[in-house]
């Protein structure tokens, strides 16, 4: 069972009938020269990569850009269509006046499985006081948060908001809240490792490829920055497989990672078990 914890359904044709909406997504997310593809092709590509499930991430930019890259309702629609393959997260623009109402709507009405936040694009520091109510609700409802962290590629996004150290207060003040600092917070990999060592409720994912080829990049990461023995000894439970589709093709990323993570139990954690724990906690799915 392999779970990809980081997929943006920007080009899913079931939510792409409106060309202006696709154009909005492309401009705000900073992705171009791709076209909507049918569910059959999306599922085939997942099968080809041997990915069983993918977490779908929306992004609410209501106060910043006047809309959503992908809305919570669109995520709900996709998950309803293929529930055995997709897990839906919700998103809230923390600067919305009705942010808390939206958050409760995501969890209580739409029944989505977690929250996606993008400090660099939604323009907030993760340790701002206005975020505390959001974190409290997520902790209380046992819903994990996927944070975009590290380099922000999107236009009009600010990398400063995604530095790992800004997430430390959350890890301390909400010990039962599981947070994933995605993209390994690239390029702040050592800082990310520092947080992983100290805080068991902090996770990260592999969804990064900003230099060179998949193989070159993951060779550097998994032989020099943090090799598989280091992972096995220190972080067996905290690194998740994420592809960042459609920026990167999941099967190519997975093949490259598999070249350097060869120990079976380390692989099983990275590709499968850690995602379950991130999603549902140590007690498992209730």
């Amino acid at each position: 069972m392999t779970t990809d914890v980081h997929m943006h359904p920007i080009y899913f044709d079931v939510i792409s009938s409106d060309d202006s909406k696709v154009k909005f997504r492309e401009e705000k997310f900073g992705i171009h020269k791709q076209s909507p593809y049918p569910m059959e092709e999306i599922l085939y590509e997942m099968d080809y990569a041997k990915i069983d499930k993918s977490i779908l991430l929306p992004l609410d930019l209501t106060t910043i850009e006047g809309g959503e890259v992908v809305s919570n309702e669109e995520i709900k629609k996709i998950v309803a269509e293929v529930p055995e393959r997709f897990i839906g997260f919700g998103s809230v623009d923390p600067s919305r006046e009705d942010a808390i109402d939206q958050l409760l709507y995501i969890f209580d009405d739409l029944k989505l499985s977690g929250l996606n936040l993008h400090p660099g694009k939604q323009l907030f520091y993760p340790n701002e006081s206005k975020m505390k109510k959001i974190y409290s609700i997520c902790q209380e409802k046992n819903k994990p948060i996927m944070f975009h962290a590290g380099l922000s590629w999107e236009p009009q996004s600010y990398i400063k908001y995604g530095q790992p150290i800004h997430f430390e207060e959350i890890a301390i003040e909400y010990p039962d809240l599981r947070i994933c600092l995605s993209h390994f917070c690239w390029p702040w990999i050592k800082e990310t490792i520092m947080l992983l060592i100290k805080y068991p409720n902090v996770y990260t994912d592999t969804s990064m490829l900003y230099l060179n080829s998949f193989e070159d990049f993951f060779r550097e990461l998994f032989t020099k920055e943090i090799d598989q023995l280091t992972i096995e000894r220190n972080f067996p439970k905290q690194i998740l497989f994420g592809s960042n589709t459609p920026r990167f093709r999941a099967f190519k990323m997975k093949q490259a990672i598999e070249k350097f993570i060869v120990k079976e139990d380390v692989r099983e954690n990275l590709f499968s078990l850690n995602a379950e724990e991130f999603l549902y906690g140590k007690k498992g799915k209730q």
Partner: protein, 142 residues
């Protein structure tokens, strides 16, 4: 007279040969052009169009030899984040194979049929799949 149709194909492997002969022959037959020329043209930069013999062993040799000549893990320059795409490239082998193979094939059309040799079939060579592909078949004649 000019007759044109587009064929849509979803490929299923990163590298494979797909025999398109029957589909092209059917387009030629319904074109109402009995004598002329048929062009088969790919709209992509990581596919090829080739003519060869429809034997599984030949197909396998073509795919294997291309992989040997242009390995996946060589030190290609086109292996980096592309700002104009907001995505990574990393498909240089597909571009290079496509360059070697060419993006079109041409046949004479006679009596509303492709005038091809007995061992000739038309293949789409997928070099960066799985993907959706569009192939134009354009027939000119009378």
């Amino acid at each position: 007279m000019i007759y044109s149709e587009k064929i849509s194909i979803f490929t299923h492997k990163s590298a494979e040969l797909i025999n398109m002969t029957a589909e092209i022959e059917s387009i030629v037959a319904k074109s109402c052009i009995s004598n002329g020329v048929a062009f088969v043209i790919s709209q992509h930069t990581t596919t090829g169009l080739v003519i060869n013999e429809p034997l599984e062993c030949v197909e396998q040799d073509i795919v294997n030899t291309l992989a040997k000549l242009i390995p996946d893990d060589d030190a290609y320059i086109h292996a980096h984040f592309l700002p104009s795409y907001g995505a990574t490239s990393n498909n240089s082998p597909g571009h290079l194979k496509s360059t070697m193979l060419g993006n079109s094939v041409t046949f004479s059309v006679s009596d509303s049929k492709l005038e091809k040799g007995s061992a000739q079939d038309v293949y789409l060579a997928e070099c960066d799949g799985p993907q959706s592909r569009q192939i134009i078949v354009k027939i000119m004649g009378e």
